[in-house]
Symmetry: C2
Subunit: 230 residues, 2 copies
Amino acid sequence: MVKKTAKKPASPKTPSNAADAARKPRAVVSRLSLYLRELQHVQRSGDGTINSRLLGQRLGITAAQVRKDLTNFGQFGRPGVGYDVDQLIPAIRTILGTDQAWSVALVGLGNLGRALLGYRGFSQQGFRIAAVFDADARKIGSQAGGVHVYSLEELPEVARLYTIRLGVIAVPAEAAQVVADRLVAAGIMGILNFAPVSLKLPLGVSRVGVDLAIELEQLAFSVLEDQRQR
Amino acid sequence: MVKKTAKKPASPKTPSNAADAARKPRAVVSRLSLYLRELQHVQRSGDGTINSRLLGQRLGITAAQVRKDLTNFGQFGRPGVGYDVDQLIPAIRTILGTDQAWSVALVGLGNLGRALLGYRGFSQQGFRIAAVFDADARKIGSQAGGVHVYSLEELPEVARLYTIRLGVIAVPAEAAQVVADRLVAAGIMGILNFAPVSLKLPLGVSRVGVDLAIELEQLAFSVLEDQRQR
DNA sequence: TGGTGTGAATGCCTTCACAGCG
DNA sequence: CGCTGTGAAGGCATTCACACCA
């Protein structure tokens, strides 16, 4: 299987911390998620095998890119054939960490919060919203989408109870930083933030931000750029 | 103001189409949106001026990066002082194209669609959801969030009526490609897609995709990577 | 023949470092 | 003196091209 052993280029520049054997570029990992999604579609359509050219084509990515990305994590393909779909899917899930189930805390039961709560895609990828938190006393104690709604006071306790490691912030901008601080205090390891603010978080807590207005801005810019070009 | 005139490096590599004077790297533009958002916060907090170090710090970006990004589009700063907030904000809006108002068509009035419809951030940044479309006959003809709900049949007509250039897809995965095709047929120039599929679009139509499950996957990966590291 | 894995080359983005200006 | 604007250097990421394998 042509497994190369250690590379030791005696590099004059790389400091090469003893422990960083596995850190991988951001861009690669985000494409991994795309591959996974597309492979699941391929699987549903019944094909057992796919090659890098086809997979890339479906995503607007070059074949070489697909292969490079995958070989970052191992050898998954068979020369002359391609990649076995049923085998590559779990491999990517393992890399991403979604082979295990993740319990998630959702904070904010407004329009967006409810939408997220009802979103099927989460459970399909191994995420379970284990608890909802809201500041509104009228909502606390009720059920929403089969999940109990708690007061923020109860966060530390509930987080421990369900081994919650991820938090989703779907509250107004003004409240987002306070909520983030409480999530961190409750031991959460990563935050998905939908509020249009840049959170200040301590080292060791991961973040992903989604700003819906920004996505539209980017789209508007692309449209204009596209028009200029022709 | 040290305005350099034309650069003509007689570059041996760059083909340099006569018309591409203004194409800018993706990464830069997406940071521009972040700057804009942050500047609006600064403005609200009353400061009239900010420098690259501070602005970057709030976003986890280096000062040099901030300056380089901005000088891509002009000279906005004053040496020894910084950037004038009230002046930089409209400048960035002009670059992004959000100095003009954009009419948007929202397709899909499920949980997510309703959340988007009620989202204040859109109008604050110059986007107006002018019409909603859904396949469900019971919803058609009603109002939602002050906006009329149309059948998809009416898309071409309504799009023309309101000069709609952008479309937002918030329908189930199975329906997304069909909806995209209809949006394109109706003359839409850009699509913001929330369905977990990779759309096939003709050249000249811009796209931005947001997959909520993928965002969580990325977060999960970061958390694991972070744990490995220590 | 068809397709992977992979060094090497290329191109893009980020960081450095500093001249110059207010 | 503080901070911008900017060439130059450095570091990543993507693409090329081809050896090798089924």
